[in-house]
């Protein structure tokens, strides 16, 4: 079976869905691996790194033509789909709930498509969970990015030239990214506060040294480990509880998401205007509409002295590690779906069922 790795075409994207290491492992399991020319360049993988492990490096068209399985990170786009052939198996993140057209186009091509962002969050699927592996890096990088943009340093320092007070970091959303952001900010010496709608995250945040900001809540705010959309009432109480910290924060990182929906707005423009001059907001939910009203995807907006950075490039910018982890997720995923290099098509099996969005032109999920 031939696995084709495509170069990412989205702007700013530096990752690639395969690493030489993992290519080698696939090949040793009997797969053939075709890598598009210069696919790994921005992740510090040279073409020769791939050829050295016996993958073949090919032009784009060749990959599309010869591969049985096409692998990407970002959703296949119009350009890609033009080259897709009937019966080919596509694997990438699809975000199928927010991208119904894309799903339709794939179906029209009579191709098969797995969506990596739909891997169910069960224990045995953890090693295929690209959302986790990438969010984790995002959490780290958001802090580094913020630290780089700030005009203050993180740690407390008592020096001969006076005392520098520690930066205050506030984190919204204590999922995978939020936790890693806490850990990273804490390591650098910041005073970290964090809040989340799911109350079980309190202990987790504290286990990493953050102070948890408790928002009084009445109802059930989570569902199967994920957050539900917050009530208006909750949003109001949240503002009350967090505002004081927000207005003193030097760096704010927002990571709040509700699966399959627009990200909740947690920081309004009005709130931004009350923040400290020189503060920085890194909005990791920008791609889902942003947690901050002001943020624009892939832009830095300065509002009343506050820098608001809307980004998803956080994991992309640590492309080497991000690609490695994505590749490893893909490897585990492929190994799970196949037996002796052939797909098993166990449609009842939870992971297959969850991720298989289009089967030979048939749309299974919306």
């Amino acid at each position: 079976m031939k696995i084709g790795i495509l170069k990412e075409t989205q702007k700013g994207e530096k990752r690639v869905a395969m690493s030489p290491n993992i290519a080698k492992q696939l090949i040793s399991k009997g797969f053939e691996v075709l890598v598009e020319e210069n696919a790994g360049k921005n992740s510090s993988y040279k073409n020769t790194d791939f050829t050295e492990v016996s993958a073949s490096v090919e032009k784009r068209e060749v990959v599309f033509k010869n591969a049985d399985v096409l692998v990407k990170i970002n959703p296949f786009d119009e350009e890609d789909l033009k080259l897709v052939n009937k019966g080919q198996i596509l694997m990438s993140q699809l975000f199928h709930m927010s991208n119904p057209e894309l799903v339709k186009s794939i179906a029209e091509k009579e191709a098969t498509a797995f969506s990596m962002d739909a891997v169910p969050r069960i224990s045995r699927a953890q090693d295929m969970d690209v959302l986790s592996s990438q969010s984790n890096l995002a959490g780290y990088k958001a802090v580094i990015l913020g630290a780089n943009e700030m005009t203050k340093i993180f740690p407390l320092m008592m020096t001969a030239a006076g005392t520098i007070t520690p930066s205050k970091v506030l984190i919204y959303g204590i999922g995978v990214a939020g936790l890693q952001a806490i850990a990273t900010a804490k390591r650098l010496g910041a005073v970290v506060e964090a809040t989340d709608i799911r109350s079980e995250t309190k202990e987790q945040a504290e286990s990493l040294g953050a102070k948890f900001i408790q928002v009084e809540s009445e109802g059930e705010e989570s569902e199967g480990g994920y957050a539900k959309e917050a009530s208006e009432d909750y949003a109001k109480r949240q503002k009350e509880a967090v505002d004081k910290s927000l207005f003193q924060a030097d760096l704010v990182i927002t990571t709040a998401n509700i699966p399959g929906r627009k990200a909740p707005v947690l920081i309004t423009e009005e709130q931004v205007s009350q923040m400290k001059n020189g503060a920085v907001i890194v909005d990791l939910a920008a791609a889902q509409g942003g947690n901050c009203e002001v943020s624009k995807m892939n832009k830095t907006v300065v509002k009343n002295g506050v820098k608001v950075i809307g980004t998803t490039i956080a994991p992309e910018s640590v492309s080497t590690n991000a690609s490695e982890l994505y590749a490893k997720n893909m490897y585990n995923f492929i190994m799970h779906l196949t037996e002796e290099n052939q797909f098993k098509w166990e449609l009842e099996e939870e992971i297959t069922d969850g991720t298989l969005i289009v089967k030979e032109g048939q749309i299974r999920k919306n």
Binding site: R124, D127, N136, L179, A183, R187, E206, L208
Partner: protein, 461 residues
């Protein structure tokens, strides 16, 4: 002759004290045992050859025979028995000691005359009764630990009956001392009463509390020996017996403490029998508790120790203490490694962040795939606040939500110590049969507190 014997007894007494002292430290314990044994040998030889002159040879022969028979039996049993059966063996031996005291009492009973001093009479009577109690009590304890005696008898008001019984015995004995002995058959009556009480005393007690009972009976034997010592005005018996008696009581109290019981609840009933302890699970069995000090010794004498950190370590913020533990063990020549499960904690790399904070050397952190084959060689695995990542259900139970997840194969180690606060489940919310494994002992408590204790125990060794 007499002087020599006195000095021998004196020396023996000193060896008893010193031996007991040495027994209190892991390093010197063996030496302590030998020292005491040596002293005992001396005392026995001295007693035989120096106590009395002009003893008919037949007596010497009989004594030699008795010593030979008993010695060989004792030696063989001690050598042959399995390691796990040792506590019950101690009980058996102790019973024999009690019996010996009772028999001596019986013989001396025959020598009582109406002109005998009250002290002498009291001594003889106590010897018989106490000896009998320890004998039958120890035998029952032995049988229980052995599995021969299973049923826990539990009459209503059992304690009251029991306590009335022993008060009765004491009153009767006191009466005899004051009123004088009329009939030598009374000796056998006392013997019988003692034997019955021994049974009554031990029978209702649950298996888990047996070590405490044995220690208590052991202390009683010591007292019986001391009483016999008073009878013969024999210092080595007196001091040796008292030593065992007082040390035994202290030991009993210490054991009670280690098991979270009071001595009162041991002697005056409500003994473990009926209370169903936490950690008993109908299908999975019983868990075994351990203490920081036991765990410390176990690790101190291990060659390879693997630490498995989990979410609980982060919750307790015990990263600094665990590093201290690791350093301490390493200094003592133990190989220590950390087994890092890829999803331990609540975020990717949680354990890494945590252990980096306390400066744990990166080279000691071993990934799951690399460490799994090494559990075979581990003498002790210390699981700290981890649960799901060491849950064998992932291998065994297809119905479990974690089925199919790779786990750390800690079960392959020789011994597993699990530290957590309670029997609560982890993230996946499921029972963990590892905790019920016969190789596992549970060290309950907040990770930081428990490890801190463990560290200070280790430092004292």
């Amino acid at each position: 002759m007499d002087i020599l014997l006195s000095i021998i007894y004196l020396v023996a007494t000193v060896t008893f004290i010193v031996g007991l002292k040495l027994l209190g430290h892991p390093e010197t314990a063996k030496k302590g045992n030998s020292t005491a044994a040596l002293g005992m040998g001396l005392a026995i030889l001295g007693a035989i050859f120096l106590s009395k002159e002009n003893v008919p040879n037949i007596i010497y022969i009989l004594i030699a025979l008795a010593l030979l028979i008993g010695g060989v039996i004792g030696w063989l049993i001690a050598i042959k028995v399995e390691m796990t059966k040792m506590p019950e063996l101690v009980s058996l031996f102790n019973g024999f000691g009690g019996a010996s005291a009772a028999l001596i009492g019986l013989v001396e009973f025959g020598n009582i005359t109406t002109s005998s001093e009250a002290t002498i009479v009291a001594t003889i009577i106590s010897g018989v009764v106490i000896g009998a109690i320890t004998f039958s009590g120890s035998l029952v304890a032995w049988g229980k630990l052995n599995g021969t005696l299973k049923s826990v008898v539990k009459l209503p008001q059992y304690n009251i009956i029991n306590n009335l019984f022993i008060i009765g015995i004491i009153a009767f004995s006191a009466y005899l001392v004051i009123a004088g002995i009329g009939n030598p058959v009374i000796a056998y009556a006392l013997l019988a009463l003692g034997l019955v009480y021994g049974v009554l005393f031990v029978l209702p007690i649950g298996g888990a509390d047996m070590p405490v009972v044995i220690s208590l009976l052991n202390s009683l034997t010591g007292i019986a020996a001391a009483i016999t010592g008073v009878l013969y005005d024999n210092k080595v018996m007196l001091v040796g017996g008292i030593l065992v008696g007082s040390a035994g009581i202290i030991l009993t109290v210490a054991m009670c403490k280690a098991m979270n019981r009071t001595l009162g609840s041991v002697i005056f009933g409500n003994f473990g029998g009926a209370v169903v302890a936490e950690g008993v699970n109908k299908t999975l069995g019983t868990i075994t508790n351990t203490t920081p000090s036991d765990s410390a010794i176990m690790m101190n004498y291990a060659t390879n120790v693997i630490i498995v950190p989990g979410y609980g370590l982060a919750v307790a913020q015990a990263q600094h203490v665990i590093h201290e533990l690791e350093e301490l063990l390493t200094k003592k020549g133990v190989n220590v490694k950390y087994a890092i499960h890829p999803v331990a904690g609540r975020m990717p790399g949680h354990m890494n962040v945590l252990l980096a904070e306390s400066n744990v050397d990166y080279s000691l952190l071993v990934e799951m795939d690399d460490i799994n084959p090494q559990f075979n060689n581990a003498d002790v695995v210390l699981v700290v606040g981890a649960n799901d990542v060491v849950n064998p259900a992932a291998h065994n139970d297809p119905a479990s939500p974690i089925f199919g997840m790779p786990i750390l194969d800690v079960e392959n180690a020789k011994h597993i110590i699990v530290n957590k606060r309670s029997m609560n489940a982890g993230y996946a919310g499921i029972e963990n049969e590892l905790f019920y494994n016969s190789k596992t002992t549970m060290l309950f408590g907040d990770a930081k507190a428990a490890l801190t204790e463990l560290v200070s125990e280790l430092k004292g060794m």
